[in-house]
Amino acid sequence: MTLRPLFQRSLLAIALGAGLAGPVQAAERELLNSSYDIARELFSAINPEFIAHWQESQGEEVAVSQSHGGSSAQARAIMQGLRADVVTYNQVTDVQVLADEGLVAEEWQQAFDNNASPYYSTTAFLVRKDNPKGIESWDDLAREDVRLVFPNPKTSGNGRYTYLAAWGFADQHFDGDEEQIRDFMRTFLRNVTVFDTGGRGATTSFIERGLGDVLISFESEVNNIRGEYGSDDYEVIVPPISILAEFPVAVVEPNAERNGTLDLAQAYVEYLYSEEAQRTLAGFNYRVHHEAVVEEFADLFPETELLRVEDIFGGWDQAMETHFGSGGLLDQLQRR
């Protein structure tokens, strides 16, 4: 009957699907890097370089796989059993969560240079052509006539940096007067036209939907966006004072041990500090530490005072609890 050929075709499709869906790698050692969602192209560029580097120095052919998603969702996946060997995130808290679970060494920030953050960035502004609203710094963002777009601090690490940067600015501007800081933050938050769940959504709202006067995001991101959507139509403003955004890395030791890739994982993270990798990172508009590269790209990154979360908010744990937790300051500031 009609069903029989259909069934045969299904079997064929299963076989075909299995063939296609089968792992891409050969019988070599494989490293899985769990990363944040906008880093796909960055690591697509770095991985082949690392593979070549490893081949050259160790004579072994290896493969590097990538997994990308919201940083928190990625960390949650590892906690629930995703066997990633290394993590490269855009939020310190998401590596800390893994450390609390014993999946990452307790002293992970000391395991590699610069707080285990091979590259960093800060929060900057993207404005429309010729900066019609004359945006220069954070206090311009609390003006009556300015509309903002940045992702929701509740769902996005990017959004949390923006919130903390604004708070840090206000803290300095108002000399620590809590009342004035809160008033500033209230106005700042009220000026937001749309709270997308992630950085990409915010970009779409600003660029493609034409919402708001200022898009606030990582400096690397606003530069990438400007490159992507036309440098004539947008301008990047780096405020004189902003926040230090670290991009933490760590080896997920229990997984790497299980996969027999501990040496590879360690080498991969170390490689991110190499001149070659740092140059690639700078090419993606991230600020780096390697001196030769820093000099080379000096024009790209204006000098700015970078506040540390540890100094102003007493560390990430504390910032998360007092500001972003349920019923925290963010909730209070947005309450009506």
């Binding site: 928190s72 769902t155 937001v192 749309v194 997308d196 709202s205 493609e208 939907r209 034409g210 009506r336």
Partner: protein, 287 residues
């Protein structure tokens, strides 16, 4: 012959003379236990870790309550609009012949077939102020994207097939005599439709609208891009669950999810029972 039919129709089942009771019972129970019930223990396991006071504090938080209002309000509007629109579509598809009818019929299933995230991005593109639709509507003072209208629109889009596909088969099965009787009595189209046709369609229409409503309560992917997500104004309940997950707060996420789950299941059960009664009354208990 139509292959589509009422999702829940209740008739009288025969006595047990047919074979396969044990087998079908076994397969069904095994499947329901393994696939549906066993994973639910995870949800209740999370809930069990909360005290009643904690549970209440999570689900009665001001912002979460505001999200219930937004979600239920938009879902209600979407369901009502779909009730009218779906009825019109079902009527036209069943009663009239016209070129392109088959195409229109196929188009009805599109929202089921399209991934919700794609639907969301596309709707946001169309209805934002520089999109094809937004450019037309905004000068008229109707802002769709980033308001609750956009939320309702996304909900309506994803759930329209429920109404069309439940009303359609009932309308198809309606005998010609019903029309004739009404018209020979001298009623005009409007009155005849209201007095004679509508009572027959009522259960299917309510079921379809109810299903559309339930589906809208849980929808996330299609809505999030067009909602704007402003606290207290355009945040939906599914976003509140998502936020809790981002905070690694599984218990909080499970608590809010359980509210949606219970409301949805209660509604589905109510529709089920109400419809069973209605059909029995209509057909005197016959199958």
């Amino acid at each position: 012959m139509s292959t589509r039919a009422l999702p829940f129709a209740i008739g009288s089942a025969p006595k047990r003379v047919l074979p396969g009771f044990g087998l079908s019972l076994g397969v069904s129970l095994l499947f329901i236990s393994l696939v549906l019930l066993l994973p639910m223990t995870g949800l209740f396991g999370q809930l069990a870790g909360l005290s009643l006071a904690e549970y209440w504090a999570i689900i009665s938080d001001g912002r979460v309550v505001a999200s219930y209002t937004v979600t239920i309000g938009a879902a209600a509007v979407a369901a009502l609009v779909n009730g009218a629109f779906g009825l019109l579509l079902a009527w036209v598809l069943v009663r009239y012949e016209f070129p392109g009818k088959r195409l229109l019929d196929a188009l009805m299933d599109l929202p089921f077939a399209l991934p919700t995230a794609v639907a969301g991005i596309t709707l946001a593109t169309l209805y934002s102020s520089n999109g094809w639709m937004g450019r037309l509507l905004e000068p008229l003072g109707l802002q769709v994207a980033y308001t609750w209208v956009g939320i309702a629109l996304a909900m309506a889009f994803t759930s329209i097939p429920f109404v069309v596909r439940t009303v359609q088969p009932v309308l198809e099965d309606l005998p010609v005599e019903v029309d004739e009787a009404a018209l020979t009595l001298g009623a005009n189209d409007g009155t005849a439709f209201r007095r004679v046709i509508l009572p027959h369609l009522w259960p299917a229409l309510v079921t379809g609208t109810g299903l559309a409503f339930v589906r809208s309560l849980g929808e996330f992917g299609a809505i999030i891009f067009i909602a704007g997500n402003m606290p207290y104004e355009t945040e939906i309940t599914a976003l509140m669950i998502f936020v809790r997950l981002q905070e690694y707060d599984y218990a909080g996420a499970s608590a809010i999810a359980s509210v949606v789950l219970f409301v949805s299941l209660a509604l589905l059960l109510a529709i089920n029972i109400w419809q069973g009664r209605f059909i029995k009354r209509l057909h005197g208990g016959g199958g």
